[in-house]
């Protein structure tokens, strides 16, 4: 009897172990299953949204793959003025520099599942610049005596779009705030109209082309939208081919007209999961403080999360949509800020368009293309709204050129972005921090 009992127990044990083994192995090898079970520790902000897909960063048996970094980040690094492009280190002349620190590999500085010293999973020691720039003071006397653990206050490792000497020199002694400062105006319709294959005449409700079975209660919202105003009918958004009708079109339906917008959205933290073919992000997955309540927590981050379907009201999308979810100190302080006051004045017509400052004005910056033409040209410059809202956040000096300096001088902007308390109170006071960058440039020129 005892032997039978032991055998049965052993058999049950083997079955449990086999089932567990089978579950673990299938979870590990199946591409689309959630693998968070195997996480050794927390992932960094942003990556936490895709942490269930280990294979984006790892080979099947755990080894890190650098190509995983490049698959997502190479494009934006290439577009930025990356001061430490990998190709620089492939020159035999520079190979020796890699002996102390392999700057040709992302993984030398960025490590996951570890406590970081800087944002973006950067775990390298704070004085890492010393390996290659030990003699910087020989060329730059202004740097004499400076400690190497503070270089990143004035320099970024990758993107120095607004932090190079000629640019700083060009913007010395600027006023804190420009009286005429404003954001460039969006002009999507101008460029869309050039390639549109349909009439751009405004539509009326009777012009709609939705199938008879469709509930038209949202028709009024559409009628008041810029879509109806520009001749965009129901089928243009709800259908990709003849006879097709989708009640709730996803981002791929918007993409046919708003390709660049979607590219930006998918590259940012709102769209990163969709870009990796995972379910859309929900607000509850955010690490930043969000408003409590079912409405916000369950919100799915697709285009209509911010641009309410049919209305597509950009004013609403610029402030209300953000504050319906975001509840961190900076967001909560916005409505007490000077920026918000200006935004309200603009909406009430007291200020001209672009003079107000919304959430979107800073976090979805307007990018002007083709502005450096030598001859005065009558050609309208294309203004795109960058929908990768994470693009200019870290390091925040990436905001200087495209955002702050539309209205503020460089010195004031630099000091403001360096003042963490000021960021928390949404720039409701004057900067208390002062960077000596501009003084150093003055000394040199």
């Amino acid at each position: 009897m005892k032997i039978l009992k032991k055998t049965m127990l052993f058999t049950v044990w083997i079955i449990i172990l086999s089932a567990l083994g089978f579950y673990l192995v299938t979870t590990l090898i199946n591409e689309k299953t959630d693998k968070r079970l195997f996480l050794p520790a927390d992932t960094s902000n942003g990556h936490h949204q895709i942490e269930e897909q280990c294979d984006l960063c790892h080979e099947p048996f755990g080894e890190l793959k650098e190509q995983g970094c490049l698959d997502c980040h190479a494009k934006s690094l290439s577009k930025a003025s990356d001061s430490h492009e990998v190709k620089l280190f492939k020159d035999p002349r520079n190979e020796q520099m890699l002996e102390d620190m392999n700057a040709a590999s992302c993984l030398t500085c960025h490590n996951e599942h570890q406590q970081d010293n800087y944002p973006n999973g950067v775990t390298v020691a704070k004085d890492f610049c010393v390996h290659c720039h030990e003699d910087v003071a020989e060329d730059r006397v202004t740097h004499k005596g400076l400690e190497f653990d503070n270089c990143t206050e004035c320099h970024n490792y990758h993107d120095n779009t607004a932090l190079y000497e000629d640019f700083l020199a060009k913007h010395l002694d600027e006023k804190d705030t420009f009286k005429e400062g404003k954001l460039p105006q969006r002009n999507f319709l101008h460029f869309y109209s050039k390639k549109a294959k349909h009439s751009l005449d405004a539509l009326k409700l009777v012009d709609h082309n939705a199938p008879e079975s469709v509930d038209l209660s949202l028709g009024q919202d559409w009628l008041e939208s810029s879509h109806a105003e520009a001749g965009i009918n129901c089928l243009d958004c709800h259908s990709k081919k003849e006879g097709d009708w989708v009640n709730k079109p996803n981002f791929s339906y918007c993409e046919s007209c708003h390709k660049k917008t979607i590219q930006g959205f998918l590259a940012g933290k709102h769209g990163i999961r969709l870009a990796q073919e995972l379910s859309a992000m929900t607000v509850s997955q955010a690490r930043l403080p969000m408003l409590e309540g079912a409405d916000a927590e369950n919100k799915i981050l697709n285009c209509t999360a911010c641009h309410s379907a049919h209305k597509f009201n950009v004013v609403e999308a610029a402030v209300s949509s953000c504050l319906n979810c975001h509840a961190d100190e900076h967001s909560i302080a916005y409505k007490k800020s000077k920026h918000f006051q200006l935004w309200q004045d603009e909406q009430q017509g007291a200020l001209e368009k672009g003079a107000g400052v919304s959430c979107a004005g800073c976090h979805l910056p307007r990018e002007t293309k083709g502005k450096k033409r030598k001859r005065k040209s009558k050609r309208i410059k294309r203004v795109n709204v960058q929908h990768n809202q994470s693009h200019n956040l870290s390091p925040n000096q990436k905001m200087l050129r495209g955002v702050c300096m539309n209205c503020h001088g460089l010195g004031f902007s630099l000091d403001s972005l360096a003042d963490k308390e000021l960021i928390k109170n949404n720039f409701s006071s004057l900067p208390k921090k002062h960077l000596k960058m501009l003084e150093m440039v003055k000394e040199r020129i």
Binding site: K90, D91, P92, R93, Q96, T161, Y164, F167, R373
Partner: protein, 186 residues
């Protein structure tokens, strides 16, 4: 048998005439050929793109900070970008760069002994190229350095006025530096 000897003899003579050794074309010849192609591309970019669009047609500027300023690359930067791609994509291990004894950017100064000797040689012997062998980062290379001449007023003005240029009195047609081509030989 006689035919075989004849064929081998003709092959040997042709090979000798074209400097084709058992390992292929000799490194000096390869370096000269690469230099010819690079030099031609530099001239086309400087004259047909930069000079035409910036100075003649006044369409767009060329700027050291071309990415940030939405401008054309300076000719030297165009050259370096090409060199970067070759280093990244080429499996041959060949690399090339622009060096100078008076560089605007200190990292473009001569580093190895061969680089130093080469830049000095082409500077002291106008019109002549320098060829040498060296070991860099544990690998053996054939290194060729060709004179880089100030071919237009724009080169001279830019270098003489640049705050980081250690030499402010360049003149037209003077040697400003050297084009280095490095070919792995092992």
């Amino acid at each position: 048998m006689k035919n075989i000897i004849k064929i081998l003899s003709v092959g040997f003579l042709l090979g000798s005439a074209l400097n084709v050794s058992a390992e292929g074309i000799e490194p000096k010849k390869v370096a000269d050929m690469i230099h010819d192609a690079l030099e031609a591309n530099r001239i086309v970019y400087a004259e047909k793109i930069v000079n035409r669009l910036m100075n003649e047609e006044e369409v767009i500027d060329a700027n050291e900070h071309w990415k940030q300023e939405q401008a054309l690359l300076l000719p030297a930067q165009f050259f370096r970008e090409g060199a970067d791609i070759v280093r990244e994509k080429s499996r041959s291990g060949v690399s090339y760069s622009l060096l100078s004894l008076w560089p605007v950017n200190a990292k473009n100064n001569a580093k190895s002994d061969v680089e130093k000797a080469g830049l000095k040689f082409i500077s002291d012997n106008p019109g002549k190229n320098f060829y040498g062998d060296e070991v860099v980062a544990g690998k053996r290379y054939f290194t060729a350095i060709y004179p880089d001449i100030a071919s237009s007023g724009a080169c001279v003005t830019c270098h003489n006025n640049h705050k980081d240029s250690p030499k402010k009195d360049f003149k037209l047609n003077q040697i400003m530096g050297g084009m280095l081509i490095r070919i792995p030989t092992e």
